[in-house]
């Protein structure tokens, strides 16, 4: 019988279902538990936390997740791969070690820590040596926002994770690894694929893409016949059953809700897709137009035929920078003429902001219940029961944004009638931390693997 390896997705983002990791570890046999915590702006949030407390800067949910799966890891041989390290993988490992000691399982926990993605301390050197780190979307050089940069991390690929697994780690913690590498690495490690076996590496990437958003491929947020998707309350998260030839099956544990079929998997495949011919990762470029899906029984989809080609000589860098302040306020207007009342309130508010001489980069108004999500495509709203006025401002002047937050509540008494919904109080001013995607030569980034043994 040919070998297989089972990689289970237990977290699709920081904030995903706290129950999922344990349900994956205990709901049936798996070999690996893959936990993805990092979205584009997560690194900057973590960097701010680390500035306040040098022992923080990682996804703290991960510690609770580990506590919930320690029995599986320490006794049943399940291995965990997670990018929970954020901007402080070393502190994350220390917290896991501490939790393992408290749980009495420390002697069975060998942590591999992947670092080397953090470019913040080297940023000025890189710029001085001709690495412009230009914004991939706008082309602007990083020097335009250099003094406001909070974090800069290169996206690392699968090889350092494979290295940690080869050295015996049963918990691998990374910083800014690609989401897909977390799934691809266990496949690489298990089957010993060559690092230039492009089709197999591409298969690993596609497997990773399908399960990196957790239940979004197993019936969650699935539009296809959504009413008939069973038992979402008990939804099963996806598992990759990887085969040595690069094909794999997506399935979920028995007696769980949700649905895995070619429709749910196809929806996830197109999620956040750019040019499908070139899904670029540090290790391989995967061609999504080569993917074949076929039903392989109830809640099982076979994926095969995937092609890949060599990667570029660049790594993507995720940079976060301070980009001013914003605030959002809301009020609810009731029937009759709810939309018209909300529109009048919007005009009144803007006139007052104007008279105060407040300047913003942008003022943006939405009418929830009428046009917020589909804009003009929604057509005429009619005399709807209620409309929520939602107005936001963003700009470099914190004082102006603060003043804006004082102008919402007065409208309850001095604006159009039938208004309510101000129980939440004055809107909060929030600092905007924006995302700056860039590229850097692969040669300047050196991943490092360190083992934290009991």
């Amino acid at each position: 019988m040919s070998r297989i390896v089972r990689v289970a997705s237990g977290q699709g983002f920081w904030g995903d279902w706290l129950e999922a990791p344990k349900r994956q570890a205990d709901g049936g046999a798996i070999d690996y538990l893959m936990l993805d915590y990092l979205a584009e702006v997560t690194m900057s949030i973590l960097q701010k936390q680390k500035e306040r407390d040098p022992s923080l800067g990682y996804a703290r949910d991960f510690i609770g997740a580990m506590e919930s799966v320690f029995p599986a890891v320490a006794q049943r041989g399940v291995r965990v791969v997670a990018n929970a390290g954020g901007v402080n993988p070393v502190a994350c490992a220390a917290a896991v070690r501490d939790a393992a000691r408290k749980a009495g399982v420390s002697s069975n926990v060998r942590i591999g820590v992947v670092t080397g993605d953090d470019l913040l301390p080297r940023l000025d050197d890189l710029l001085a040596n001709g690495h412009a780190l230009a914004n991939m979307e706008t082309g602007e050089p990083l020097s335009t926002v250099r003094d406001r940069v909070l974090s800069a991390n290169a996206y690392l690929g699968a090889p350092p994770i494979v290295d940690a697994l080869a050295r015996g780690a049963n918990v691998v913690i990374t910083g800014r690894s690609t989401d897909t590498a977390l799934t691809m690495a266990p496949l690489l490690h298990t089957f010993g694929w060559r690092l230039d076996d492009w089709d197999k590496l591409a298969a690993g990437i596609v497997a990773g893409h399908i399960i990196e958003c957790g239940a979004q491929c197993s019936g969650g947020n699935c539009l296809y016949e959504w009413r008939t998707i069973p038992d979402l309350a008990n939804i099963g998260y996806p598992i990759v059953e990887g085969h040595e030839d690069g094909s794999f099956v997506i399935y979920k544990h028995p007696h769980t809700g949700g649905r895995i079929d070619v429709h749910s998997v196809a929806e996830q495949l197109v999620y956040e897709m750019g040019d499908p011919h070139s899904y670029i990762t540090p290790d391989v470029i995967a061609d999504f137009t080569s993917i074949h899906l076929e039903s392989a029984g109830a809640d099982r989809v076979r994926v095969f035929g995937i092609h890949g080609r060599p990667p570029t000589d660049k790594l993507k860098v995720s940079i976060a920078y301070r980009a001013g302040f914003k605030a959002l306020g809301t009020l609810v207007y009731a029937w009759p003429d709810a939309l018209e009342k909300a529109q009048v309130a919007d005009r009144v508010l803007r006139e007052r902001l104007d008279r105060l001489g407040l300047r913003f980069e942008t003022i943006y108004t939405e009418f929830l219940g009428a046009s917020a999500t589909h804009g003009p495509l929604a057509g005429a709203a009619g005399d709807v029961p209620e409309v929520q006025l939602r107005i936001g401002v963003r700009g470099p002047d914190k004082k102006a944004v603060e003043r804006f937050t004082r102008e919402i509540a007065p409208l309850v008494l001095n604006g159009p009638p039938s208004v309510t919904g101000f129980a939440g109080g004055r809107p909060k001013v929030e600092e905007v931390v924006a995302y700056w995607p860039a590229l850097v030569d692969k040669g300047v980034v050196s991943p490092v693997v360190t083992m934290d043994e009991p």
């Binding site: 539009l223 196809a266 897709m273 750019g274 137009t289 993917i291 943006y364 999500t373 589909h374 924006a434």
Partner: protein, 118 residues
Amino acid sequence: MRIRLLDIAHARSGDKGDTANVGVIALKPEWYPLIERELTRDRVAQHFRGAITGGVDRYELPNLGALNFLLHGALGGGGTLSLKTDAQGKVFSTALLRLELEVPDAEARRLHLPGAGG
């Protein structure tokens, strides 16, 4: 006959910076060629005129019975800069499915499109 895309396709959307992507997937494989022929880049750009500030790109994935559209300048700056409720483009999917296509009656019957009769 006119048919809503919603009745012959499903979709999922997401973001990449200030660009929203919408993947449109034929509900039945035999409906994909019709969608590929009719749901052109220009048709989608016209549909979203006024709602996005940039252009539209289209990619074909016949292997999945799917088209992928990139809608540039769709998200009010995107990411944390955006003040939109849908800053991450999650519901551009159903906004695109509002689009209506004109399909010759004979073809609609031959493909057993919903509401085509026959």
